[in-house]
């Protein structure tokens, strides 16, 4: 097993909070749900049942799970095209997500958004955004609204390492810091911007943390493959933002197990880089950690089975779901339900 330092992770864990037994199982279940759902989605993509594109978080589950377990019902998630995990982690059921990936009428957005735009306002998932950068500024807006309306809601915005190089990142961070907005920016540094290693296109080694000081913020680096650590970091960040002390910019170090999108086999990554990270699989290591701590393996197996059933049911229901009604095409451009551009 590679040590954290081998992977460039922080040497001493900084966020080791006590996690109660119930939360531990919740974290485990959440990661298991993300993992199983996405593996199935990948299979269905290869079967051409999932249409268009799909970006998986395999290997990065601890981040979404930790925040999912830490956020309150009123808090908001802003995700990217790689948003299955963050949507599931807020408690959205699998069936409508799977149906959306298959473009069916029972999909989370009735087939109008697709894999890259998962949204469930009911669960605080305020959208998944497919153009790099914009959603950091939008998350600010939600946080600003919480501040103006005097609620204690927090906006959490997930994005990748590559996203730190686009202009909107800079504008969003500066405004959030200047206005002291209750927003947590979570950079999932999976080392790659699509097919290009992040280091080759970025002026600093830590694309997010090394920019924190440019906004008067503290650099925060977390081992994003360690669910306990991530959970502690999420707790701290949410507390900070909720208490009115302004934004947090967190860099969670992690790794994509698979390709960037669709069926990308990710052959461009050297084996020496991939293998140690696969060994630090967040789900496998967390399971081992729980077992080591004395959690009954039977309990974990039961969770595994429940999750598998959930995935199977979601798959079946999505496969059997009807195509969307064609009248949807000209619906809901406007709040009156229509798309009329003329009288």
């Amino acid at each position: 097993m590679p040590t954290p330092t081998d992977l460039g992770l922080p040497e001493t864990p900084a966020f080791r909070h006590e996690v109660d037994a119930e939360t531990e199982l919740e974290l485990y279940r959440s990661m298991e749900r993300l993992r199983r759902f996405e593996k199935r989605a990948y299979d269905l993509f290869l079967q051409s049942l999932v249409k268009g594109t799909s970006h998986l978080s395999l290997g990065q589950e601890a981040i979404a799970a930790a925040f999912g377990a830490s956020m309150r019902p009123g808090d908001w998630t802003f995700a990217t095209y790689r948003g299955h995990a963050h949507t599931l982690a807020r408690g959205v059921e699998m069936a409508p997500i799977m149906a959306e990936l298959l473009g069916r009428g029972t999909g989370l957005m009735a087939g109008k958004g697709g894999s890259m735009h998962l949204t469930s306002v009911e669960h605080g998932v305020m959208g998944s955004y497919a153009i790099i950068g914009a959603h950091l500024t939008i998350a600010n807006g939600a946080a600003w609204s919480a501040k103006l309306r005097g609620t204690d809601q927090v906006a959490v915005c997930f994005f990748g390492d590559g996203t730190t190089n686009i202009g909107a990142f800079h504008e969003a961070l500066n405004l959030a810091a200047t206005w002291k907005l209750p927003v947590v920016f979570v950079c999932e540094n999976n080392q790659w911007m699509e097919y290009t290693p992040i280091g080759s296109v970025t002026a600093v080694p830590r694309p997010a943390a090394d920019r924190a000081s440019a906004y008067g913020l503290e650099p925060v680096v977390v081992d994003g493959n360690d669910a306990t650590e991530m959970y502690g970091a999420a707790q701290d960040a949410l507390r900070h933002a909720r208490s009115g002390r302004g934004p947090v910019l967190m860099e969670a170090l992690t790794y994509r197990h698979g390709g960037h999108s669709r069926a990308d086999p990710a052959k461009y990554r050297p084996a020496e880089e991939v293998e140690p990270w696969l060994l630090r699989d967040p789900l496998v290591t967390y399971r081992a950690h729980l077992v080591r701590k004395g959690v009954d393996e039977g309990v974990l197996k039961a969770i595994d089975e429940e999750v598998l059933r959930e995935v199977d049911d979601a798959t079946e229901s999505a496969k059997n779901a009807p195509q969307p009604d064609l009248t949807l095409i000209e619906r809901d451009v406007w709040a009156d339900g229509s798309s009329a551009w003329r009288n």
Binding site: W76, L108, M109, A110, K112, G113, H117, T119, S120, V121, M126, G127, Y129, I131, G133, A134, H135, L136, T137, I138, A139, N140, G141, A142, A143, W144, S145, A146, L148, R149, Q153, A155, G167, A168, E171, A172, N174, L175, T178, W179, L328, R331, D332, V333, W334, A335, D336, G337, S339, A340, W341, R342, N343
Partner: protein
């Protein structure tokens, strides 16, 4: 009734809405303490405080992102983008995010927000501060697009825009800020998606928008003296487009002219011409004619700029040539 400038009407319109509804907020560059670069937002900060009237950094993407995120979580923001030319630096927020989010989420997210911006030429500001960009917005499904030509319309259409549940692009014309008009006292609320017939004539119909409206009206006066009686329609709203009023006016006269400040290609006039020919072909006496800025960036010199944007003379000459 009060005589007031288009500029003052902007401040009054915003104040009316800030006053009425606590969820309305206003943000932009230099809008608060400075009262706006066009002095169109003076007094608002003092009256409504820095939480509801927020000065921002030069970060147009962050401004519109803030507006969008706030709109989806219970506020009704009015965002100012100082010059419409700067829409280009935040076009992703407008065209890809704000315009598409309701649709992509199957109606889960509503975005009641207004983007106000100073549009148009005539002030010798050169090619990067003078464009007429209402057509950029018109081309993007999911945006409502308004461009008032009078102080009264500024207030009424702004109120309608703020109260509308959808995103509205509100194009104020920089060349009209100092123009005065009579404005009724008390609350004014107009209706989006409605054109106004500003003048009735029997011979031809001239469609105009924003700063081209007063020019079209002046041209109509000149034409009347030459025996040509023109209807002049102030289009006001590009989306929704009041095709009922437009088609009716054109059908009555049989001859259509558009007066567009934008460079020619893909202007709103082209769209309306295509609708008109498709729908009332048999009512037309001749080809619809577009009067536009030539397809060039705007030059800055006063002499050049005046000869570039459609003028009263150019309107008159074009109409006479066709009608005689």
């Amino acid at each position: 009734m009060t005589l007031m400038t288009y500029r003052d009407a902007v401040a009054r319109g915003i104040a009316q809405e800030l006053e009425r509804d606590d969820s309305v907020v206003f943000l932009g560059e230099d809008i608060g303490a400075a009262g706006g670069v066009f002095k169109a937002t003076g007094g608002l900060l003092g009256k409504f405080g820095p939480l509801r009237v927020a000065d921002t950094p030069i970060s147009e993407q962050a401004i519109l992102g803030a507006a969008m995120g706030a709109a989806m979580t219970g506020l009704r923001p009015i965002a100012e983008i100082m010059f419409s030319d700067f829409l280009a630096v935040c076009w992703d927020l407008i065209a890809n995010e704000i315009a598409k989010t309701r649709y992509m989420t199957n109606g889960q997210i509503s975005l009641p927000l207004v983007i106000r911006t100073g549009n148009g030429g005539g002030l010798r500001f050169g090619a990067q501060h003078s464009q007429s960009l209402e057509n950029w917005a018109m081309a993007v499904p999911g945006l409502k697009v308004v461009a008032p030509s009078t102080p009264e319309d500024v207030i009424g259409l702004l109120a309608a825009a703020v109260r509308d549940p959808d995103p509205v692009m509100f194009f104020e014309h920089k060349g009209l800020y100092s123009m005065k008009g009579e404005v009724p006292d008390g609350e004014i609320v107009d209706t989006l998606g409605t054109a106004k017939v500003r003048r009735r004539g029997t011979d031809c119909t001239i469609l105009a928008l924003a700063a081209m409206v007063p020019r079209a009206l002046k041209a109509a006066d000149v034409l009347a003296a030459a025996g040509i009686n023109a209807t002049v329609v102030d289009v006001r709203s590009l989306v929704p487009l009041d095709t009922a009023t437009i088609l009716d006016a054109v059908a009555r006269t049989g001859q259509l002219f558009t007066v567009e400040e934008n460079p020619r290609l893909c202007g709103w006039g082209a769209e309306i011409v295509s609708v008109v020919v498709e729908e009332i072909w048999d009512d037309l006496d001749g080809a619809p004619i577009r009067i536009t800025t030539p397809h060039v960036p705007l030059p800055s010199s006063d002499t050049l700029e005046d000869a570039t944007i459609p003028s009263v003379t150019r309107i008159v000459d074009t109409v006479r040539k066709v009608m005689e």
